[in-house]
């Protein structure tokens, strides 16, 4: 379904990356694969460096760090925050919501909304839609949208498909009303029938964690994974992205009456280099218009990947200019989403490191 939002805009973006960097070249030795094959995988998938949190560091830590940075820099005032929206699949606790914990740690006002929504890779677009809906309420003038995940904690060290891919991060986007008569087009689709392609089988209430769910099993392709670990059916997801994302974007552009050439950038979730290259080819979008450099520097950081691709590739440009972008997020659910909007000029668009 296509949605239209009016008079809303993003006014600032911040990405918080853990300081701790891992390198594929060093970690290769842990896998049951000959080196030559691992190097080939590195090239194709874009594995190189990724950022991972230290043990004990959680989503609320990254979020609090980022918000405190904005308070100290005078870029955001505590009392202006009317809604705190946290999109994550790796909360600090089952109870209470992590957005409440962030609110408490930062001493924010009581007269506000705190909301935890469970989403990962499609989470930035979904989060923006939620923020726009909240801003329709008179009492809500400023929404802080936080996307954050620490999925590295659920990656099996013996799974070469997953372990070198996953990065941790948090992003903060400030969303407000736009005095100008702007229009944002968005699309969102879900298919729970294919939910099994991207899951963490144990840990929730369906199958609580136990000694059994921690046992590493040989899943048949020389990778070892436990039920507690993140599972990705690579082939199924590749097919899903190739099949569903291009028609969604095309449909969205048609609905908005905008030609493909009229879009300055396609800022997509960054699953891995290969998948995004193939997507660009299928959509006949030149590679330069679909930046594909997040995985090799920071890893696939879930819902933060779109903010990371924006902050990494358009850091200074968006401070001065306004560009027309098409965002696309797709993943767990399965969920796929796209959004066409003008981005910029932003008050801030930066990457900082969590220490």
């Amino acid at each position: 379904m296509n949605f239209t939002f009016h008079r809303k805009r993003i006014t600032g973006m911040l990405v918080v990356l853990p300081e701790n960097e891992r390198s594929f070249s060093e970690e290769m030795k842990n896998f049951n694969f000959p080196e030559a094959r691992s190097l080939k995988l590195k090239e194709v998938m874009g594995f190189d460096k990724r950022r991972v949190v230290e043990p004990g560091v959680c989503v609320s830590d990254l979020a609090v760090f980022g918000l405190q940075h904005l308070f100290e820099a005078g870029l955001l005032k505590r009392e202006d925050i009317d809604a705190l929206l946290l999109i994550t699949q790796t909360p600090d606790h089952f109870v209470p919501p992590t957005s409440n914990i962030i609110q408490g740690r930062l001493g924010l006002k009581q007269d506000m909304l705190c909301l935890d929504i469970s989403q990962a890779c499609a989470g930035f677009v979904l989060g923006l839609m939620q923020a726009f809906m909240l801003l329709e309420q008179e009492s809500i003038k400023k929404v802080v949208l936080i996307n954050a995940d620490v999925l590295s904690r659920k990656a099996s060290p013996k799974d070469r498909n997953i372990y070198p891919l996953i990065g941790d991060a948090a992003s903060i986007a400030i969303v407000e009303r736009d005095p100008q008569d702007s229009t944002i087009h968005a699309s969102l689709k879900m298919d729970g029938a294919r939910a099994g392609a991207l899951t963490i089988p144990a840990g929730g209430l369906r199958q609580p964690s136990s000694m059994e769910t921690a046992i590493l099993e040989d899943v048949g392709d020389n990778n070892l994974r436990a039920k507690d670990h993140l599972f990705m059916d690579g082939a199924a997801i590749f097919n899903f992205v190739q099949t569903e994302v291009p028609p969604m974007i095309e449909g969205l552009l048609a609905h908005a009456g905008v030609a493909k050439d009229g879009v300055d950038y396609f800022l997509c979730h960054q699953p891995n280099r290969f998948m995004l290259q193939k997507l660009a080819e299928k959509m006949k979008v030149p590679y330069e218009k679909m930046p594909n450099n997040v995985v090799e520097h920071f890893g696939n950081n879930s819902g933060v990947s779109i903010p990371t691709v924006i902050a990494y590739n358009l850091a200074t440009r968006l401070l001065q200019e306004n560009v027309r972008v098409c965002l696309a997020g797709f993943g767990a659910g399965l969920t796929w989403s796209a959004m066409l909007l003008n981005l910029g000029s932003l008050s801030f668009n930066a990457i900082i490191e969590y220490k």
């Binding site: 699949q89 909360p91 705190c114 469970s118 909240l134 729970g192």
Partner: protein, 357 residues
Amino acid sequence: MKSIFKNKKISAIVSVVPKEEYRFDDEFPAFKLTPEKAKRFKKMMSLDRHRIAPPDVCSSDLCQYGLEQLLKDGTLKKEEIGALVFVSQTPDYFMPPTSNVIHGKLGLGHDVICLDINQGCAGFLLGLVQAFLLLEISALPKVVLLNGDVCSKMMDKCNRISYPLTGDAGSVTVIERCEAENPIYMDIKNDGSRYKAILVPAGAFRTPATAETIKLHEVEEGVVQSEQHIHMDGAAIFNFTMNSVPAQVDETLAFSGDTRESIDWFLFHQPNPFILTQMAEKMKIPAAKLPNNIVSLYGNCSSVTIPLNIALNCGEQLREKSLRVCFSGFGVGLTWLTMVMDLGPLPVCKIVDYERA
């Protein structure tokens, strides 16, 4: 933070409870309570019985069953479902969202929005707020709000304070647009500085589940819990409830232009009858207008206490007419949310027992 929602209404509510009912009189020997202490506790908390889900039944099962009933009896059609909002603190998985799992099991269309929200006690009302926000999108037909929790799985069966008071349940609420303005007034407040009052310390990402975190500790005589269980600071919760909720109820009534007399029913979250009696007294609300019987019959089932409260105490009245109600949900977060609206008529407003497929 106040808001008004217009042209929205609840059109059906089904609550689903496990068939398995357990009586306090049968359970108390397991709690290490002397018969005198058991008698005192039973009296103080008006305990009688509660419903507990079997080991393999989760929040999504209870909610899915309720939704299937509404589809089966024609109250709702699949194509009318614009969004599934699942509110819980006991989801099936970290990934994928439980609403997507239910979406898949029911074979719903790709245009259905699925959202999982993490909340407990204030979760029915927060879910309604989400539904109202979604319904501003004119293309979206109806929103189905699913509330479900299996909190019994987050405590030890021998925990004499938590276990007898808890219950498992799910509910399905259909929300849609309406011609009539039907203004709905709400106030929400959050205080995360007191988040530790209701906390599950381990099992998610702050402290992952390990062999250590599953070990039981006796924190007081007969009160056994692990780090993966719900830890409740009873005194802090009591003080919070008594100090914060009455003020919010007064504010919201002033906001909507109502008085204690103009409200037909005060339908509050049901933590336990003791607290509710204190609250009714403090707020000078006649006990007859503030139902207090859910815990005695079903247990405190988190966000589902309000839907159960509606069905059990007002269901019959609501079939014929509209009632002016004041809802209040308060707890986990800490979050407290009060809402005043006209409710009904509701032709479908019931409680059913969960049946396995």
